[in-house]
Structure formats: C-alpha cells, structure tokens
C-alpha cells in the first residue's frame, strides 16, 4: 500500500464510522489543485539538468495550505496527493488555521553540488511562486530539504513579491526561524504520551521503559525529552545499527557519540541490537521514529510493548494496526503524535506575520496547549464512540474540515 492509499484507508475507515455518503467522501479527498512543473537548470559541468517539480494543494478551507517540500527520486503526484491530504487532517487534529499541501522535486540531491541545489531550489520557486505565499501555501522542510533550502526559497520569493519571511517555515533561527522548531516534533510526541499516561491512570514517564527506532531529529529529541523526564530509554537504533542496555541508556552521552561517529552503534556499555529486534523488545512504550511501514503483519504478533507512540509517519501498516487494536495495544497515531512539528511551524509563521519573536517558554506553553486540547478531544471520542485513537483523529479532522466547508458553502 502506498502512502496515499494508507491515508485514504484510514480516512475511509473514519468516513464509514461517520456514515458519510460516497459523494461527500469524494469531495473531501479530491485535491484543490495539483501542479507539475519543469525545473531545468544548468549543471556545474555545463550540461542541462531537467527535473520535475510537484505541488499538490489539498484543501484551503481552514486557512493557507501547509506542507513539506521533499527532494527525492520517488517523488510523484500520487505520493504528493496522499501526503497533502494527510497534512489537511493533521493540521485539523491539532486545530491549526491551516489546510494541507505537499510537494517536491523528483531528484537525488546527493548527486548535486550545493550550488546546483541552490539553483534548483530557486528555479522551482520561480515556477510555483504564483501559487505559494504567506496567505496561500507555506512550504516547509521535508525529506532531504533543510533550513538552508528554506532560506533560499524565502529569498527567491521575496525578490519577486517583496520581503516575505512567512512564505516558508523551518527557516534558520538567524533568518526568521523560530526557537524550538528543531526539537518540536520530539517535544510534541512526549507531550502526547504524557497526556495519554495521565488520562489512562498510568502516571508519568518516570520509570517507564522505552525503545526508540531512529535517532535522527525526531528520535534523538524524543529520547532526550524522555530521558530528562526520568524515562528509561533501553534501546535506540539508526541505519548503522542499534544499542541496548536493560538499565537504560545515557542519552546525552549517546547524542554526543552519535554526533562524532555518525551512528549510535558501538556506544560503550551496551549490547548491539538490530532494528528488527528493537521493535520486539519487552518495553512499556515502543517509539518508531524513523521509517514508515516497520510494524507489519509479519512482526506485529511479536511486538511486546503495551503502547506504540508513532513519532514517524505511517510506521504501522493498516493490517498491523488492526491486529494491535484487537490485541488491546494502544497506538497513539502519527497524525496526532508528530503534529508538534507543524504546530511550531505555525508559531514561526505567526511570529513572521507579527514581526515579533516569542521566547522558548511561550513556544513550549503554546505547543503544550495545542497537544493537550487535541488529546482531550480524541480521548472523549475514543471513550464515547469506542473507536481507536487513529480513527478518532480522522473523525475529528473530517469534522473540522467538513464544518468549515459547509459553513463557507460549496
């Protein structure tokens, strides 16, 4: 199942619970606009390089559309459609005044020099500048795009439209970026977990055991926050391998180790563990924070954690999700758990619009408010309608987008 199909699978499941008509379903799924552009640049060796850029704008009923730009060879219209609609539902779950979009360029950025990458980015902006903008569509970093790429987008767009820092988020802190953006997804994920534990009468993070798959931005920040709050992160892994210590890992030292050696593997006083076996550890909470599709119907029966915190996008396949639900394993879904990232993006945009800077405390307080309120709504729905958290999240999102749609009129 592709990303697009998975999003639609969960969307349809919620739509069935809500008993929506197929025509209403089709209206909600169909993107507002899909754009495909030629992005041709002169390569450093004088050759012509032609790439295809995509931007799918799914829904703008609740506000300007928001979503990442990725540079990856597999980017295509199908993928962008699915991810764009996921952004519509995600921004709605945490109640941001945004719609959803996604896009990118079909390119392997590792084959380009930094100067080629800059030319490619600026060319792409020239091709889509009339459909993006602070009140239209606000791109953000995604796979293989970073703060520097966002800075180029802001600069190129501002050349054409005047000073416009709010046209993208995820900018460098020195160029209208927001404090707290880098750690936002990890911080939001831990907030989501804390809300659940409190609500379920299971106390707090202190003393609980965790296995975290992935030690990039999301995995490492999630691990750090769990560690700070007294949680025992017993295993982490990345592409280079994994490390395990039943007594808990020293996360600040592990972060340092990973920075110098570029992998968590080989960290002192630990046993090696594979990515596959990390998923099967007997821990309180399993945190997939890297790739999609890692918990499948092949390995789901061996997952021993009582709770799955989906910090990554789509780590659980629909079939595995169903089995976990039947087994009574609670899955806190990606669409809610990792929404901290887009929430702080919203704060960055708001600061740019206000031309005012928030301090880190305000960022954290506001993020906490969004995550807490979102959780409270989901929890009420789960209790009252006996659905999973994931279905609840889609129902909340469909409700918010749907109400805005009918109030504005079709």
């Amino acid at each position: 199942m592709s990303g697009f199909e998975e999003v639609n699978y969960y969307f349809r499941k919620a739509a069935r619970v809500m008993d929506l008509s197929t025509r209403v379903e089709r209206m909600l799924v169909t993107p507002f606009r899909e754009v495909k552009v030629d992005v041709s640049i002169t390569l450093d060796n004088g050759d012509l390089g032609t790439f295809i850029g995509y931007r799918v704008q799914h829904d703008n009923t609740r506000g300007p559309m928001k979503g990442g730009l990725r540079y990856h060879p597999t980017v295509d219209m199908d993928e962008a459609q699915g991810l764009a609609s996921l952004m519509t539902w995600k921004t709605a779950v945490v109640n941001l005044p945004f719609g959803g979009a996604k896009g990118g360029i079909a390119v392997d950025p590792k084959t380009l020099s930094p100067r080629e990458l800059e030319r490619l980015t600026r060319r792409f902006v020239q091709q889509i500048h009339d459909i993006i903008g602070p009140q239209r569509d606000i791109p953000a970093p995604d796979v293989n795009t970073n703060a520097q790429v966002m800075a180029w987008i802001m600069d190129e767009y501002s050349r054409m439209h005047g000073f416009s820092p709010a046209v993208v988020t995820g900018k460098p802190v020195d160029l209208f970026g927001s404090r707290g953006r880098e750690e936002a997804t990890g911080r939001g994920a831990v907030m989501a977990l804390e809300e659940y534990l409190r609500d379920a009468g299971q106390g707090d993070v202190r003393g609980k055991t965790f296995a975290v798959q992935g030690f990039g931005n999301v995995g490492s920040w999630t691990s750090r926050f769990l560690h700070e709050k007294g949680g025992k992160v017993v295993a982490v892994s990345d592409v280079g391998g994994g490390v395990f210590n039943r007594a808990g890992l020293d996360i600040p030292r592990l972060v340092e180790h990973a920075r110098t050696t570029r992998s968590v593997a080989g960290f002192p006083e630990t046993e090696a563990i594979t990515n596959e076996n990390l998923l099967l550890l007997d821990v309180d909470v399993l945190v997939p924070a890297a790739l999609g599709g890692v918990i499948t119907d092949d390995n789901v029966k061996d997952v021993r954690a009582r709770l799955v915190l989906e910090a990554a996008n789509a780590p659980t396949t629909p079939k595995a999700d169903e089995i976990l639900h039947q087994r009574g394993v609670v899955v806190l879904p990606d669409i809610f758990v990792n929404a901290g990232g887009v929430t702080v993006s919203y704060f960055e945009w708001a600061q740019n619009i206000q031309q005012f800077t928030w301090d880190e405390e305000r960022i954290t307080t506001e993020l906490s408010r969004h995550m807490r309120e979102a959780y409270a709504t989901l929890s009420r729905l789960v209790r009252e309608r006996k659905v999973s958290f994931r279905t609840a999240a889609f129902i909340v999102a469909i409700g918010r987008v749907g109400r805005a749609t009918v109030l504005r009129g079709v």
């Binding site: 008993d19 929506l20 209403v24 009918v406």
Partner: protein, 175 residues
C-alpha cells in the same frame, strides 16, 4: 352496411346477453352516420351527441387542451364504442375523435336512449349494465394509476446531500 350486419356488431360489443329481438330494438333506435377520412366525428368540449358504435374504419382520439398542444392519445379500430359516457351524463366530450379512414357508425342519441328507458325497455337497461361494466373497469384502471402516481410522490425528495452532511457534523459528530 345492412341493419342485420350492423346488429351483429352492435350485439358483440355492446349488448352481450341481449336476445335477437332486443338487439334489433336497439339497432332500430340508432341512426346510421358516415364520416369521411380526415373529418371530425365529434369535438372535445362539445356537448355529447350520444354513443357511437364504430362499425367500419379507424379513428384517432385527440386530446387538444393538454399541455403542449394536440396529442393523439389513442387510435381505435372498428368494431368499437365511442362517446358512451354521454349516454349517462350531460358532460361534454373529453376528447376529439377524428376519422383516419372513411368510417361508418351507428349513433344512439341521448333522446332516443331516454325514450327507450322511459318505455322500460329491457334492452336499454342491459345496455346500461354493459356500460356500467365498461366504466367500472376504467375506474379500476384509474385507481391503479392513482396508486402508482401517489407511490411516486412518496419517494423522498432528492435530499440536499450537503445539508445532511452539515447536520451530521454539527449534531452527531461535533467533536
């Protein structure tokens, strides 16, 4: 057409159960009429002249006052009966009848028929019974048609899909 030929036809379509003598009585009370092709036998909204027995030829029944102008609602071939209602009521004809071919009729006028009834002609009462049967059958068809039309009316109006969606979201799923 001779009276005896006409009597045979009149008997088969109008007077089943009449004796030869009774049939003769009715046929004798009738006036032979011919209408050449393309001419009108009687016109919609005109006062009824009486009952026409179509002995030979073909006629068209035309509704002129309906929406969208004149419409041929039926084509009737001999032998058949037209205008039978006018024997019983004074109402005007409800449609126009036009000869498609040269047509031969026997017309039983209302005054003639009244005279037969006043003379307590058994034949005339038997004709009334036959007409009652025809009218009852038509009423029955009308009832069926009415039921069919009212069923169509019961079908829910094409619902405003968006309004239903709105109601669902604001009432049932307002989270």
């Amino acid at each position: 057409m001779t009276n005896s030929e006409a009597a045979k036809i009149v008997r088969t379509i109008l007077c089943r159960g009449l004796t030869n003598q009774q049939t003769e009585q009715i046929v004798n009370a009738m006036v032979p009429t011919t209408v050449t092709s393309g001419n009108t036998v009687f016109r919609e909204e005109e006062r009824g002249q009486g009952l026409f027995v179509l002995l030979d030829g073909t006629v068209e029944v035309v509704k002129e006052s309906g929406p969208g102008g004149a419409v041929i609602i039926a084509t009737v071939e001999a032998p058949s009966v037209l205008g039978e209602m006018s024997l019983i009521t004074d109402r005007a004809h409800s449609a126009t009848v036009r000869a498609r071919t040269n047509c031969e009729f026997r017309l039983l006028t209302r005054p003639q028929f009244d005279r037969l009834l006043q003379g307590e002609s058994l034949a005339a009462y038997k004709v009334v019974a036959t007409l009652a049967d025809v009218i009852a059958w038509r009423l029955n068809r009308m009832d069926e048609k009415f039921v069919e039309l009212s069923r169509r009316g019961e079908n829910p109006q094409p619902v405003e899909e968006l309004a239903m969606f709105k109601q669902k979201l604001f009432n049932e799923w307002n989270y």
